[in-house]
Amino acid sequence: MSQSVKDRIIRIMAEQAVLEPGDVTPEHSLEDLGIDSIGLVEAIFSIEEEFDVEVPFNANTPQDSSFDISSVAAIIGAVEGLIAARAA
């Protein structure tokens, strides 16, 4: 399950960055991938659609968000948290 979430998020981030999934690693930051603020909003929409979760994120105050976007790995962890919270 965990592997699957990772692969699906890497696929979403790669699509947003116009890269092949093989070129995206968990260590990458959004900046590394060239994803700007509106690209991030679109990626979050794709994540919500993919996993049927509500991502707590306001583009005005990304630093205050409980949803960690500092790297691809952080996003994977945050989404896993949302999925676990939904299942609980």
């Binding site: 699509e15 116009v18 509106i38 909003v41 679109e42 979050i44 929409f45 919500e48 659609e49």
Partner: protein, 402 residues
């Protein structure tokens, strides 16, 4: 005051994906109206329209672009690229800071609204794509044209229903003529051939279910179309200095408001706009050889427009030609004036007057030479392009042969 040259033109509409294709279709009297093809069309009473044919958005745009470009923006970008290319202008430096873009549209990103209303109302979803607002806003096409071509001067969208394009082009003309901008991209775009867009028009009971026959005794309403046309309006001296080809001169413009009724047109408002455009251009009414009429094919418009032409032109009304090309490309609403300006260029530059096709029987209330069914070879020195919108907002451009 500066003279204003048209140095580039571009279009995509039901008659073609370029200006040459569209002009040859107009010269052949080809009809772009056919069965509508989109989701839920079977629930419409009106099932005909002039859709752009053979258009696959993926052939023109990347996934990222499609996420941001509504169909009306895509059409505007295609037309603008053709116009800039034909003009031969390189828009950079000081020119880029002063050149702008003004486009007309009535519905803006209406199909984006239609699709996303379905998602939240019909499908019950609680989430829409983040780009719904930047796709649907009426200035989306204007902004994307300015970004792609680096136009950093005066830029905005104009929305006056069926006169949107003419108002937009009139404003661009005034900016170039006054010296406020040396170059303006201008025209209009519309893409409301979707279930909600046609259903709304259906409600007015002014739509034909078989064909658009402007000025014909058997006419029974309008037919919607879609598409865009964009032009490069340029300071005449600027164009001459770089030896640009000039397609026609924009000589005058006038706009009036009926201030009377939200849907019924007025003869007075229309005639004041035509007379105003001639006065603005310093032209005598006898000099006009061709009028691209608003000619929607509705009972109300065609009768009122003919009476207004008779009022302005007197005896000369019987000598000039006045055709409506809407029978070919449909009524493209906020983009229609821009697409119809092509018929004026065809007359002024190529000596071919586009016909009013579908004409079956003369209407005594429309006693004009409507150039029925077949295009005519004729020399035209001055042409008018009429647009009379719902809400009583009228805009007329006067063009002169180079």
């Amino acid at each position: 005051m500066k003279r204003v040259a048209i140095t580039g033109a571009g279009t995509i509409n039901a008659l073609g994906h370029s200006v040459p294709e569209t002009l040859s279709a107009m010269a052949e009297g080809r009809c772009g109206i056919g069965p509508l093809k989109f989701r839920d069309v079977e629930r419409l009473q009106v099932q005909i329209g002039a859709q752009v044919q053979g258009y696959v958005e993926e052939d023109h745009w990347s996934r990222q672009q499609i996420a941001l470009y509504d169909r009306f923006t895509q059409f505007a970008l295609i037309a603008a690229a053709q116009a800039v290319d034909q003009s031969g202008l390189s828009i950079d430096g000081e020119l880029a800071d002063r050149a702008g873009v003004i486009l007309g549209t009535s519905g803006g990103g209406l199909s984006t609204q239609d699709e996303n209303f379905r998602v939240v109302y019909e499908e019950g979803k609680n989430r829409v794509h983040p780009f719904v607002v930047p796709r649907l806003m009426a200035n989306a096409a204007t902004s994307h044209v300015s970004m792609i071509h680096g136009l950093r001067g005066p830029s905005y969208a104009v929305s006056t229903a069926c006169a949107s394009s003419n108002h937009a082009m009139g404003q661009a003309f005034q900016m170039v003529r006054s010296g406020a901008a040396p170059v303006m991209l201008t025209g209009g775009s519309e893409a409301m051939l979707c279930f909600g867009g046609v259903k709304a028009w259906e409600g007015l009971r002014v739509m034909s279910r078989d064909a658009c026959r402007p000025f014909c005794a058997t006419r029974n309403g309008m037919v919607q179309g879609e598409g865009a046309a964009v032009y490069v309006f340029e300071d005449w001296d600027h164009a001459m200095a770089r030896r640009a080809e000039i397609l026609a001169e924009v000589a005058g413009f006038a706009m009036t408001s009926d201030a009377s009724d939200i849907v019924m047109p007025s003869q007075d408002g229309a005639s004041r706009a035509m007379a105003g455009a001639l006065a603005d251009a310093g032209l005598a009414h006898e000099e006009v050889g061709y009028i691209n009429a608003h000619g929607t094919g509705t009972a109300a418009n065609d009768r009122t427009e003919c009476a207004a032409i008779a009022q302005v032109f007197g005896d000369h009304a019987a000598r000039l030609m006045a055709s409506s090309t809407k029978a070919m490309h449909g009524h493209c609403i906020g983009g229609t004036g821009a697409i119809e300006l092509l018929a004026c260029i065809l007359a002024l530059r190529d000596d071919v007057v586009a016909p009013t096709i579908g004409h079956q029987k003369a209407d005594p209330e429309c006693p004009l030479d409507v150039v029925p069914n077949e295009a005519r070879d004729a020399r035209v020195d001055v042409a008018l392009s009429n647009a009379f919108a719902f809400g009583g907002l009228n805009a007329v451009l006067a063009l002169r042969r180079v």
